[in-house]
Symmetry: C2
């Protein structure tokens, strides 16, 4: 059975191979007219220049943290010696996934625009296959990293027993999850601030004040806006989903090792292999499904959507079915209840689908909520904002109830509906079920991310078409692709956000396991009167007086809830400030450079790119560092109960806040599009101006603050896990 | 020592006596010109008409709930027979407090305007003394209700032991807290929707579209707007703070009875009397301090503020000092550690002051945050909204850290810095310390509420002056009073919001106690292997598998966090919808009734009053009923662990969300005022229009959704407590 493991590196290589093939096919496409090439070149250079700047800052942070970890590990012995290296590789691969995705996107958008000059299907093919490069790169690199560390650590780690060794290996691997999360947070926050500063700035001066259309070459912030789509929506999302993907697999592996500790290393190994194999098979299914996405010439939006949905749905259904096969292979021989975990996986998949549908319902202008939001523009921008906030807040109900139900169901399925969590092993087994549900949700990330990443490519293609002054028909085609991307992205978001909640839960359990290991390293090594090696999660909770009524737990819950808001507040502010600078600059150019608005003068695009770059670099530091520092401080001051409170409060409030902000932002965006399609007065009406204000406010909601929260939640957990040794060694309370 | 109890009804009567005296003195003032009388009459009638309508709806809800409780109590025996009656009296008194406050306010505002025709000091005196009527009525009625029920239940309840009897009495009294909370929620939500529908509607058409000043008689929504100030900011706030005041005392009494159960009835009685006595002495100190608030003629804003601050600070400091005396008297004879609880009270008071100062810093335009927010108006309404959301979210950090510290400190002070919560009695004692800290915070409510309630009176006085076309000097004077009210209200809000968090925590503990009692009523009556009567909080938690890692707890946390958002979403939407109707109506009147804008035609004020009334009545039902229903459903489906998760999630996310919404709203309001004072272009500039959009969005944030959250959090706890019997008798998991 252990040979099954080689499926993991194999799947990883297959994914990377197809990513490479798609990339080269895309590169062979024609990039179009000289103007198109030049604009693509501008955007590409701007994006790469920004990414280099971002990596410079991030590398410094990584070096500082790695040195800090090295001191903790080698100087004080409160940490595993592999931690600094695992941390660095996680960060490196996460960044690499974003980088490759972005490089592809910047080459693809011009080519997509050019393909749209001939046909819609041609455009779809280029854009979607390029999105697939990103999807397959993320899962390929993720599995590669996991497989490599698994092999290396298996060879190098020495522990008293095989069972203990497996626990140490898997929790060490969580450190590279922390590296990935740290990189992802910087990418999301930095990229998010960059793109939204440019977008908001461009919208305010361009659309509201000067009545220029989107992506008009007369708008000096246009290039920065298009660069932003790449660094934020592509590179940021790539790093983000790399983190989610690895996080779900790693946390399940760690839980598997500890949940089945008592059952011995054979069972542990099965539980560790299971998530890797589900992911590996998911990768192969994704590759197959990507090939099913195609349309006939002359296909409309509905047919396009159908084609994409067919691909993703097929992958999801096959993945659900396959999970039965995999788990039968892995667990079947020793355990007739193997299918219990498969039911957990199904609960996770189902939850992802429901959340995706709910997101679509609340944010697509094919449904009443967003249409009503658009109608509220009749009474001006204030009611648009009030209604949009109301809509987003209401839209949290279905996802939250779904996730709550999924948690309980995945747990109960895994335990065979045993609710006595106090009984030996029931709690660990149930939590393992929750964790593996998250893996199931993300197993088809290869294709769902392709449908997600293709959106910004189509968006940029539209930008290129507009700036190159191509036939309006081309822009219309890219608009169809872009709109389609918004809808498919909703489903992808459902999976991403749902899996984040489940993974965070698994990480909570891993934190407790890590505390156990940390105590195991100290003298005495007794937890709640039991030998540390055999202590259960409940023993650890009892040892540290972790109770719902413990005031430090409650103080932690408050601080955790607050962290979600504070983080969003800082990122919102950053966008606001940067956008103001952009507006001032664009207004200056309109005033000082003659003939911009008549098309006779050339705007200074570079200045705008610089403003976004500087703002993003400068503003991303504080919120990101806070996310790393606060869990450490809470651990040192309030101890283990405080940290658990922090993580639970952050998870609860953060998840709901993330759904609220993403959905409000999405609905504002689509309400504006609804008006632009000719409803309620159409473009340039009072209603349109009101919805543009809504869209502008929604930009940082949905593309900066909202999506960063998923990473924040997990990063705080990862930091706590990595710092568990320090917390055990020193805490005030 | 038991005779000390009579201080409670005595203090209550003193408060009501002074309220009566202030009321009659106010009534003797002159109401001014015939126009002024007529306008005051309009507003008074509108407000009373609305309140009658609201009470009609609320009475039906109360009857249904009381019948339901009666069935549970008499039919199934899963509840105490006193519950339905206690519930009804709580609702009645809470409503009465709001009613009296509002009646006073509607008589006072015209008279304040008239007094301002002569002098600022005269206006201050009338407005502030009238605010004091409300403050003293709330605390007087609260203490009266508590004293009466304490006497009645002491006479009527029969239990196996005296110790058990005290537990049953105090938890029964929590039911009238639930009545008060239910009434308060309807008052806050209904009143909040009413006032903001009118305000938002009036602002959008009046200020943004027609450039009319605030309270211009040509604006058809003006009367509705002024009525709204009374039903929302006065009646709503009165019911709200009655609920907070009683809630803090009652939860402390209940905790006192259970925390010292093992120590016997003598000690229990002391612990029950302590919060009542702290409150009673606070009432007397408030009355004295109210008389210190006065200014010399020609006093400026700074002096006015100084005078008010002197009164509230004196009351707070004296109350802190007095608590040492009271607790020495109560506990001193048997326990040399009595001063431990006094330190808890001080921790609470200090936290209230810090939160108040932080609120002022973030929302007053004397400080940078709000000034910066105003400056963001240079780039239009979108950046005002983004910056305001950012400001509000950032502003949650200080209050949350303060509350976290206060909880831990109040707990540790009470236990004499014993952190071993697993030891017998330590947990209960510590939680009692947290509860009594909340009582300390609210003990001077008599005067802090006076400084709060006087704001809307001054605001309405300004409205009256404007509509009666008095000398501009009069409006300037009322504006000074109004602005002052905004600042003093910040401190009041700090105390209200801080005490809500602490009270909610105490209610959590009471919930567990009530579960214990409910099991005590069933056959067997064993909890975690211990006799139900002597079981501890920790036994109950263990019996129901309540652990941080229990999936039902975590599902509960998610749902609780979501409830805060869903509730705000529903109320925001309600305001948005109602405001749109108002805008449409006002536009219609401008179009159809000739000569309104030139002052020759009379607008149809009544139509606008009707729209607000209907909208408020119609829209308040769903969110309010949800707040009552969800805890019941969670109890039945997820059981005790689910309910505890729900309450903790709701508390964490709800508290932070409340601070965010209140502070964003307050800052937007003051940013607008800052511009209106002549900064950044002054009135009617582009900046002004942008800040008006911010203010309009902020209206429901700070006056509808935000303040309702405090009540929501506590009401969900109260409902859970009252329904504990049902949950124990029937739960799926």
């Amino acid at each position: 059975m252990e040979n099954l493991f080689y499926l993991v590196p194999a799947a990883s290589l297959i994914a990377l191979l197809f990513a490479w093939i798609f990339y080269h096919k895309m590169k062979q496409e024609d990039e179009g007219t000289p103007t198109m090439r030049q604009i693509a070149q501008f955007v590409r250079e701007g994006a790469m220049a920004y990414l280099k700047q971002q990596y410079k800052v991030v590398i410094i942070v990584f070096i500082i943290l790695a040195v800090f970890f090295a001191i903790l590990a080698y100087g004080f012995g409160v940490q595993n010696p592999w931690v600094p290296f695992a941390f660095l590789t996680g960060g490196f691969f996460s960044g690499l996934a974003g980088f490759i995705g972005m490089k592809t996107a910047t080459f693809a958008s011009g080519r997509t625009a050019n393909a749209c000059r001939t046909s819609l299907n041609g455009g779809l093919k280029v854009a979607f296959r390029s999105g697939a490069v990103m999807g397959l790169t993320v899962v390929g690199l993720g599995l590669l990293d996991i497989a490599l560390w698994w092999i290396v650590l298996n060879l190098c780690v020495n522990e008293a027993s095989e069972a203990q060794k497996l626990v140490v290996i898997t929790t060490t691997m969580l450190t590279f999850g922390m590296g990935a999360s740290t990189q992802a947070l910087f990418a999301r926050v930095g990229g998010g601030i960059y793109t939204k500063a440019a977008d908001v700035g461009a919208d305010i001066v361009g659309k509201v004040e000067s009545d220029l259309p989107e992506d008009d070459p007369r708008n000096p912030a246009t290039i920065a806006d298009n660069v932003g789509d790449n660094v934020g929506d592509v590179a940021g999302m790539g790093a983000d989903l790399y983190e989610s993907y690895c996080g779900s697999i790693l946390s399940t592996m760690a839980l598997g090792a500890s949940a089945f500790y008592a059952a011995g290393p054979a069972m542990q190994t099965k539980a560790i292999l299971a998530p890797m194999l589900i992911a590996a098979v998911g990768v192969i299914l994704s590759v197959i499904s990507i090939f099913t996405v195609r349309t006939k010439e002359g296909a409309g939006m509905a047919q396009l959507l159908k084609s994409m949905s067919f691909g993703t749905n097929m992958a999801a259904i096959l993945s659900g079915v396959a999970s039965f096969g995999i788990l039968a292979l892995v667990f079947g021989t020793g355990d007739s209840n193997w299918w219990h975990f498969s039911l957990s996986v199904l609960a996770g998949l189902l939850a992802g689908v429901i959340i995706g549908k709910a997101t679509e319902y609340y944010t697509s202008h094919s449904y009443r909520p967003t249409q009503k939001l658009a109608e509220s523009s009749a009474t001006g921008p204030a009611t648009v904002i009030i209604s949009g906030v109301g809509l987003g807040m209401r839209s949290t109900a279905i996802p939250v109830v779904t996730i709550g139900a999924a948690i309980v169901l995945a747990f109960l399925c895994a335990t065979g509906f045993d609710t006595n969590i106090m009984a030996d092993g029931v709690l660990s087994k149930g939590l393992y079920g929750v964790a593996i549900a998250a893996v199931g949700m993300l197993s088809t990330l290869g294709i769902t991310l392709a449908t997600d990443a293709y959106g910004p490519i189509a968006d940029n293609a539209g930008g290129n078409a507009q700036m190159s002054e191509l036939d309006p028909e081309v822009r219309e085609r890219t608009d169809v692709l872009d709109a389609l991307g918004n809808t498919t992205a909703a489903t992808g978001k459902g999976f991403a956000i749902g899996s984040a909640a489940l993974t965070a839960l698994a990480l909570l359990a891993s934190y407790i396991e890590e505390i156990k290991i940390a105590i195991g390293r100290t003298a005495g090594a007794v937890i709640n009167g039991v030998d540390a090696a055999t202590a259960s999660i409940l023993d650890v909770l009892a040892e540290f007086n972790v109770s719902l009524m413990n005031p430090t737990v409650l103080a932690g819950v408050f601080i955790g809830s607050m962290m979600a808001f504070l983080f969003c507040g800082l990122t919102m502010d950053a966008v606001g400030r940067a956008a103001q600078k952009m507006v001032v600059e664009v207004r200056r150019q309109f005033r000082e450079i003659k003939g911009i608005l008549t098309g006779e003068g050339t705007p200074d695009y570079k200045r705008c790119v610089e403003i976004s770059t500087k703002a993003a670099q400068h503003e991303m530091l504080v919120p990101s560092i806070l996310a790393i520092l606060v869990p450490v401080l809470v651990g040192v001051i309030l101890g283990v109960p405080g940290v658990l409170g922090l993580l639970i409060g952050g998870l609860g409030a953060g998840f709901v806040l993330a759904v609220f902000m993403s959905n409000s932002g999405g609905a504002w965006d689509n309400a504006k599009k609804y008006v632009e399609e000719g409803h309620l007065g159409g473009k340039n009406s009072e209603s349109h101006h009101a919805t543009v204000v809504g869209d502008t406010v929604g930009d940082p909601f949905k593309d900066t603050s909202g999506p960063s929260l998923n990473i924040l939640i997990k990063l705080m957990s990862m930091v706590s896990i990595v710092m568990a040794g320090l917390t055990v060694a020193f805490h005030l309370m």
